[in-house]
């Protein structure tokens, strides 16, 4: 993690933290965008993922990897309180977004979700809205009315999602006319337009062909300077290509997912601390 030429105190100040907050912990030099502490998600009393603790750092991509059913999606959805609508679901432990307690009593989930965006596995643009309306949907939800602001946000988010050049002449066209990869980039633009601090992505390329996948991966690299990314991926090559740090989840005997290892991506894939990680990356299970 290389920071611009500024003093540690300056970095800390610029992101609203004390120097100590920034440098406590085992990854000195980077600021934490999101902190998970002992996070457990249960459905009807049965834990799907248990006791997960790790931090996601600013200007980094954190990947969640692990076999199917290890609770990657479940864990990711705990970070923007998407489980709120599932009645059987309960989240315990602590999730911090900066210094906001995500599950704090006074935290408004809709406000929180505008700070923690999400991109889903299947592209899900709103089919009844135009490309433009999709791009600004989040801003409208958040009460932005002013046309000039919406126009600006539509353009800049579509530019950021590498979609502007191909759609600038057909902004009024329905989003369902786009290809799958374009739809997914529109969903990324839509999420970026609200200027979230963190962007959660759940296997964002699993429904896309290799070329569209490559473009999204490049995009992730370009975006990480403006938003902290936490991405779930099944594809270990992808995790290696796009992520800086990696969390490996695996379900234990009781089929509950647990965090086996959290490490820098290069370390995790070259000399992991845990033998189970090695087994997984060598394709021995999952």
């Amino acid at each position: 993690m290389t920071e611009p030429l500024t003093t540690p105190a300056h970095i800390a100040q610029s992101i609203g933290l004390t120097t100590e907050e920034v440098f406590v912990g085992h990854h000195a030099g980077a600021a934490k965008a999101m902190r998970l502490e002992n996070v457990t998600v249960t459905f009807g009393g049965r834990a799907a993922v248990r006791g997960v603790t790790f931090d996601a750092y600013q200007r980094e991509v954190t990947a969640l990897i692990g076999p199917s059913g290890s609770g990657k999606t479940t864990l990711l959805r705990a970070l923007n309180r998407m489980h709120d609508t599932v009645r059987s679901a309960a989240v315990t432990g602590t999730v911090m977004l900066g210094d906001t307690d995500v599950y704090g009593r006074s935290t408004d989930p809709t406000l929180l979700r505008s700070r923690v965006g999400m991109v889903f596995q299947r592209p899900n643009p709103f089919p009844t809205m135009s490309i433009y309306e999709n791009a600004v949907a989040g801003l409208r939800f958040n009460g932005v009315r002013k046309k000039s602001l919406l126009d600006e946000a539509a353009e800049s988010s579509l530019v950021a999602a590498a979609l502007w050049d191909s759609v600038r002449d057909r902004l009024k066209v329905h989003a369902s006319t786009l290809s799958g990869g374009e739809q997914q980039r529109l969903c990324i633009a839509r999420a970026l337009a609200v200027e979230p601090e963190v962007l959660l992505m759940d296997e964002p390329t699993s429904a896309l062909d290799p070329i569209a996948t490559k473009r999204i991966e490049e995009l992730i690299g370009e975006l990480k300077d403006r938003v902290t990314i936490i991405i779930v991926t099944h594809n270990m090559q992808q995790a290696m290509r796009v992520s800086d740090r990696c969390a490996f989840l695996l379900m234990g005997e009781d089929r509950t997912g647990e965090l086996i290892e959290f490490n820098s991506t290069s370390k995790l894939f070259s000399e992991p601390d845990d033998p189970r990680t090695l087994d997984y990356i060598n394709g021995r299970f999952g």
Partner: protein, 293 residues
Amino acid sequence: MAGGIFAVLLIAFVVAMATQAVPAFSKLGVSFLWGSNWDPAHNHFGVLPFAVGTIETTVIAVALAVPIGLGTALALAYLAPRRLRAPLSTAVELLAAVPSVVYGLWGLVAVAPLFRTTVEPQLTSVLGWTGLLGGPNQGVGLLLAGVILFIMVLPTMVAISRDVLAAVPHDQVEGAMALGATRWQVLRKVIVPGARVGLLGAFTLATGRALGETVAVALVIGNSAHLAPSLKANAGTIPSLIVSSFGEASGTQLNVLFAAALVLLVVGIGVNALARVFVRSVKRSGAASVTVA
């Protein structure tokens, strides 16, 4: 295949009605369709008062059914406490199965007195300035017919709307939630627009039923052959005219009744066709499913 059978049936209907109606047209021309004097004893067969009555009762019914039906359907699909949704939905479905004559009788013996003593006086004091509520409070009349029709079409409207609203893909709902939409915004901006094609179907069905309802309307509308000067006045609709005078009608009057039925049939088909055109244009403009490369 089935479509072909229905098309044949439809043509058979039109032909049967038309055959019976032709003598009316050959004798009276077409102007009786918009004549306002209905007096069979003196050979006056103006159908306009009934056509207007049909439209007025339908408009009242649909104007009430659309917002209330949509609200109820949203509540049943998304808002009501989960434990209440199933019993409430069952209740709505049962209501849809009540025969219309029962609605009519209930309207006559239970609702009409309430209208006379309470609803009409209250409404008149609030909305009297519109000039739509002149005349005595008598219970039966145009307004009661419209309201009974509304109550009759509501269950069907709610049952269908609830299903199409509940069928909006969950990933759309989550997509909006993940952008910070409130529950209300999700309903308004994603669920209702996502279900609009189906909602339009529910709306068309309700309109069709209101246009054609016979017995219940005949019981509560007061059966007058005059253009109603007020929402509280007696009136008539084409179906109520047919059902109340078919028994003693003969000769030209019988042919005129068939002509009126034909008009109703054409209007019914027209409403349906209009809805179809609208549905098609909505579909073309992109309600299509998400394509994935």
